[in-house]
């Protein structure tokens, strides 16, 4: 492999046996392979067998439990922890891709100290000493500790540390949902974000909250949403999304209503007014006290403000009040100057509908960060020179805050900055000392996502680089500063706190048992009782929010990227190449413009447009998107890094640079800003993975309405390619052909009596979140190829989420449909007979096999695949030193040893995770038993937060997949081609009356 020395060190610690980089070498077996045994046998590590460690994902504050799959001492894959209360075994795309950050080639490999302009590797001893002296020298109150959201032990330890040195801490989180918290204070006197229980709701109303993308706890909310909104025997919840832009979340809505930007609150108030006036729903007694406050907000008045007709408003109100419902504020709907009013209005709406305490729960202590306003305090203090020492952990305010605030300028005023950052980013570039933290995979820690839920993190492997757990560093520092902390190591510190926790839980068992069990389960959790809330005085002061762009300008909505969050994940190449759920764009930024608006400006897709706000201007290619109000343009946040690893630096533009610096009343940043567009002469081919966004009536993504089902729409499912009825005689012939083919596939070893692997995908649950795509890449060593190659149409993801638009023209409502498209493993696969060398063929258990090492690369199979799910290695992504090598040291350590890494010139595709199937078969055979249903789970199925995917043996009538496939909604894509796919899609169901 590339770096012999590193590897040796790695192995010595971990004792890898066998060629760890086996897969990488591809077809070359020349050089002598060395076998390096363990020094001492590690009891829970068997070479060739995966070990799973329960831990917690730290990609965001949600706190999803994970099982870290470890092979030969290397974490190779994350899987959701089925027991974890937040995510129940599911993970999002960001989490699935996060191992690339663990093994990132640009991670800080050791402590670093400033030398001249740059930072140079340094001894930990020296670095720590430097920091300690600086801390001691600093006058009281002049030390600030800025860090991202922290809970549990590290939070406590930082607290102790900061108080001990008499400093100030500042929790920076780019999306702190200040408006929602502010509103909750006002209306209910609680400074927190409530928990929304979708599963219990029959009517979901989101006022711009992107709860399927970034809002609070996406995986948990996706599951809840899918359970409520997914179609099951005639019933499903209705979901209405209210936002000027159709966000990725809104794409799953049955109704998307685009009000005038900023007027969502008015709509909420009008609905509340209707409910109160007509006494709809089950409002709490004191709801009537709001009557006066609401009186003025009649639907008619609201109609003008919101650009939604009164009838619709009344209808919404009635629907909302009718059943158990939930309304969500949040997301960019609550990120404009006046947004706290919107949030308050929605709270009131929930209250009068009697949702508080049922679908909307307080008392879980959901808080993220101190809010944007405190960051202003910080810059002011820094510029005033009153900050001598700054410690930064897990925060990148320089990039993830409006450039107008000029955090970097502020940092320039601080004499000494120490960063715990794992990466060199725009913020740690200002550091004088860098004390890199462990990755989540490498450290002892705990996490408390909410009241009653304690998660544990444990090191699944030895640190990749010479890094140290920040907890240990803090303890070390306080020792150096002459204090003697109770615990020697951070692990002990955590355990001490857990000992207390055990006491509070009243658990009598010895601590070791408690600890061991907690480790195995991934933590301990209890059902926290929600707090009962009553109206606070502020509730009666609700009024309608106002946002208006400067005359003649457009409203720019800067929304958080569901892929990069606030930009912290832009350094993960898999995520860079993950098509945005809405625009299917990769590797860059774009501005979404409504086609009509584009016409007005004479802008074509791909034209580079100057977007200018009062704060700044950026040049970015245009993406024409019908899912916008014409008076709105939208840009994602998170790209445009100036110094953040090889993958993020210089990719796209930084949308924060357009946003105003001053904090809104409620203490949050403003994501609405009025901008003007000017077209430049430049044009670029967009790096998007989508060919056409309309189905051309080919029934790829099929949908029915609830009303339609009631009227028997499913009795005659829609079929494409039967435009002309087939004469009876020909039908007869076709049957004969089919029979002959069945006989053929019954030949000898191909007798399909035993197994035929199949899959169903329920489109009424799929939210197009991309988790499956990332999971597939991680499981199957799928390489990334970079923007230029994506432009050339060579993206490699084995499963892709096809996003089709319906309607949206001449007044009819815009509808979006998602279809996860993967190899259909056809019974009569067109790709098979054309392969001259049997590299593509049909396996006895009904898979469409692809033998990489037999493939010569004629690509005939690719031509003949109607689903276009075969991907060719145009370049060598697998050979170290090759220009397009995708696994720079040490990233190759995360390669799945059970999957061949494909070299150039061969075709590859989804295998239904054949390595998992064979693995399970080996296990079963060794144990002398048969496979049981559900024993084999594909990577996409395993991670799907919406549980849309079922996989199993179609020949087994009892198997879940067989039963699901029998659903009347079931259809196969391009069925008319008689390819007999093994993948059955269940039609999307839209909660609409009209058939």
């Amino acid at each position: 492999m590339t770096d012999g020395m590193d590897r040796r060190k790695f192995l010595k610690v971990l004792g890898v046996t066998g060629g760890g980089t086996a897969a990488l070498a591809g077809c070359s077996t020349d050089d002598v392979a060395k076998l390096i045994p363990y020094m001492v046998p590690v009891e829970d590590q068997i070479p060739g067998v995966a070990t799973y460690y329960a831990s917690t994902c730290r990609g965001c504050a949600a706190g999803c439990g994970v099982h870290v799959k470890v092979r030969e001492g290397r974490a190779v894959k994350l899987e959701g922890n089925p027991e974890a209360p937040i995510n129940r075994g599911k993970l999002c795309a960001r989490s699935q891709a996060s191992l690339q950050a663990t093994y990132h080639p640009d991670r800080n490999r050791s402590a670093m100290m400033r030398q001249g302009e740059g930072l140079a590797p340094a001894e930990w001893e020296a670095a720590l000493a430097e920091v300690a002296t600086r801390l001691q020298a600093a006058p009281a109150g002049s030390v600030w500790f800025m860090h991202g959201t922290q809970t549990g032990s590290l939070d406590a330890l930082i607290g102790e540390f900061v108080t001990a040195i008499g400093g100030r801490r500042l929790v920076f989180e780019a999306f702190a949902h200040e408006a929602v918290r502010h509103a909750s204070r006002e209306t209910f006197g609680r400074d927190e974000v409530p928990l929304y229980r979708f599963a219990d709701a029959q009517y979901i109303l989101s006022f711009g909250a992107d709860f399927l993308e970034t809002f609070m706890s996406p995986v948990e909310y996706t599951r809840g949403f899918a359970d409520a909104h997914g179609y099951r025997d005639g019933r499903m919840a209705k979901y209405v999304h209210i936002e000027p832009r159709m966000s990725g979340t809104a794409m799953s809505a049955d109704e998307w209503i685009a009000p005038t930007p900023g007027s969502e609150g008015t709509l909420a108030l009008a609905m509340a007014q209707v409910i109160v006036e007509r006494g709809l729903g089950r409002p709490p007694a004191d709801a009537r006290s709001l009557r006066a406050a609401l009186a003025s907000f009649t639907p008619d008045l609201a109609a003008q403000a919101t650009d939604i007709d009164a009838a619709t408003i009344t209808r919404l109100a009635q629907e909302f009040a009718a059943g158990p419902s939930v309304a969500l504020p949040g997301g960019i709907g609550t990120q404009h100057a006046d947004a706290h009013r919107t949030a308050a209005a929605v709270n009131v709406l929930n209250y009068v509908a009697g949702n508080i305490g049922h679908t909307v729960e307080y008392g879980h202590g959901l808080r993220q960060g101190d809010g944007y306003a405190t960051l202003r305090e910080f810059t002011v203090a820094a510029e005033a020179g009153s900050i001598q020492v700054l410690l930064i952990h897990d925060a990148n305010p320089v990039h993830a805050s409006p450039s107008a605030l000029n955090v970097s300028g502020a940092l320039g005023h601080i004499p000494f900055v120490a960063s715990f950052s794992r990466f060199q980013d725009e913020t740690s570039a200002w550091a004088h000392v860098v004390l890199p933290d462990h990755d989540a995979m490498e450290q002892w820690n705990d996490w408390q996502p909410r009241a009653g839920v304690q998660m544990l993190l444990q090191p699944a492997m030895a640190p990749v680089f010479d890094t140290r757990q920040t907890g240990d560093v803090l303890l070390d520092l306080s020792r150096r500063m002459g204090r003697t902390p109770r615990q020697a190591t951070y692990k002990e510190y955590v355990q001490a706190r857990w000992a207390d926790l055990q006491r509070t839980l009243g658990d009598r068992a010895p601590f070791d048992t408690f600890w061991r069990n907690a480790l195995q389960r991934g933590g301990v959790w209890t059902e926290a009782r929600p707090a009962t809330v009553r109206l606070a005085a502020g509730a009666t002061r609700v009024t309608n929010p106002a946002w208006a762009p400067t005359e003649g300008q457009l409203t720019l909505i800067a929304y958080p990227s569901s892929t990069f969050y606030d930009g912290r994940d832009a350094h993960v190449p898999w995520l860079q190449e993950l098509p945005d759920p809405v625009t299917k764009m990769t590797w860059g930024s774009w501005v979404e413009i409504h086609p009509d608006t584009a016409d007005r400006f004479g802008i074509m897709e791909g034209d580079v447009v100057q977007v200018t706000s009062a704060q700044g201007t950026v040049a970015v290619p245009a993406y024409l998107y019908p899912g916008l109000r014409p008076d709105v343009v939208a840009m994602p946040l998170g790209q445009g890094h100036t110094a953040y690893t090889r993958y993020a630096t210089g990719v796209g533009v930084n949308t924060w640079s357009l946003l105003p610096g001053e904090a809104a009343v409620f203490g949050g940043a403003q994501h609405y800003v009025s901008v003007s567009l000017t077209r430049t002469s430049r044009h670029e081919r967009l790096a998007k993975t989508e060919g056409r966004n309309r189905q051309l009536g080919r029934g790829i993504a099929q949908a029915v309405t609830l009303g339609g089902i009631a009227h028997g729409a499913l009795d005659h499912p829609f079929h494409v390619a039967h435009a002309a009825p087939v004469p009876e005689r020909e039908e007869h012939l076709l049957d004969e052909v089919a029979a002959a083919q069945r006989r053929a596939t019954d030949y000898g070893p191909y007798a399909l009596r035993n197994t035929r692997w199949g899959m169903t995908i329920d489109l009424s649950r799929c939210t197009g979140c991309n988790a499956c795509v990332a999971a597939c890449s991680a499981e199957n060593n799928v390489p990334y190829i970079g923007a230029e190659q994506v432009r050339r149409g060579r993206a490699m993801q084995w499963i892709r989420i096809e996003r089709y638009f319906e309607g949206g023209e001449h007044g009819e409502p815009l509808e979006t449909r998602f279809v996860p498209m993967l190899c259909q493993h056809c019974g009569n696969a067109p790709c098979e007979p054309v392969c001259p060398v049997f590299a593509a063929y049909h396996t006895p258990d009904g898979l469409n096999g692809q033998v990489y090492n037999r493939c010569v690369g004629t690509r005939y199979c690719g031509n003949n695949c109607p689903y276009k799910v075969r991907y060719f290695n145009w370049y060598d992504m697998s050979e170290p030193g090759a220009p397009k090598f995708a696994w720079p040291d040490p990233m190759h350590w995360m390669l799945n040893p059970d999957v061949t890494v494909r070299s150039r010139g061969v075709m590859e595709k989804c295998t239904f995770c054949v390595q998992r199937i064979r693995g399970a078969q080996h296990r079963a055979a060794t144990e002398g038993r048969a496979l049981v249903d559900g024993e084999v789970r594909t990577a996409c199925q395993q991670t799907c937060p919406a549980d849309a995917i079922t996989f199993g043996n179609m020949m087994d009538p009892e198997a879940q997949v067989t039963r699901t496939a029998a659903d009347p909604r079931g259809y196969r894509v391009l069925e008319g081609l008689n390819t007999k796919p093994a993948v059955t899609y269940l039609m999307k169901v839209r909660h609409l009356e009209e058939a």
Partner: protein
């Protein structure tokens, strides 16, 4: 080829002359004379009067071998390591027709040429030669013992040869 038995070599410019010469040679009972011509010529062939060349049998046999081996190979090979593709029968003769056909042509053609070579070698006769015969003249070589050469020379001259010489 110098090692010829020796005899009389005549060159003709005119077709009919050569033809009459050949006729009279046959009357005189000469069988193993050799006729050269720069291009295939019906009158001459007629005069010489060979039976139809057996080369065509080679073509026939070659073709039959080709078609059988074509089908045999394809069917045996697909049964030897049975792999199902696209739900088609393992040995399916229809697509194999193409292979059978191509091999018919290939082996047929090769056989034909082999036949050509073989028969030319079999019917080769030692005879005297003159470069003009590939240019514009017809040649006739009559192998005969010295005592009878005079008669032959005279007969050929009579037939209208442009040149007659003894090729020893």
């Amino acid at each position: 080829m110098s090692a010829h038995p020796g005899g009389v070599l005549a060159a003709f410019l005119h077709e009919d002359a050569a033809v009459s010469a050949i006729r009279s040679l046959k009357e005189l009972g000469y069988k193993d004379f050799t006729v050269y011509s720069p291009a295939p010529n019906h009158a001459l062939m007629e005069a010489v009067g060979h039976k139809i060349s057996p080369v065509r049998l080679w073509t026939l046999v070659g073709g039959l071998v080709g078609v059988t081996s074509g089908f045999a190979m394809t069917i045996w090979m697909s049964l030897d390591y049975p792999i199902v593709v696209g739900g088609k029968p393992i040995p399916s003769w229809i697509p194999y027709v193409v292979i059978g056909f191509e091999l018919t042509i290939l082996i047929g053609a090769i056989a034909t040429l082999t036949g050509l070579a073989v028969h030319i070698l079999l019917t080769r006769k030692a005879a005297a030669y003159d470069p003009r015969f590939t240019d514009d003249q017809i040649g006739v070589f009559v192998p005969c013992p010295t005592e009878r050469r005079g008669a032959v020379e005279q007969m050929l001259n009579a037939a209208g040869a442009v040149e007659v010489r003894v090729a020893a």
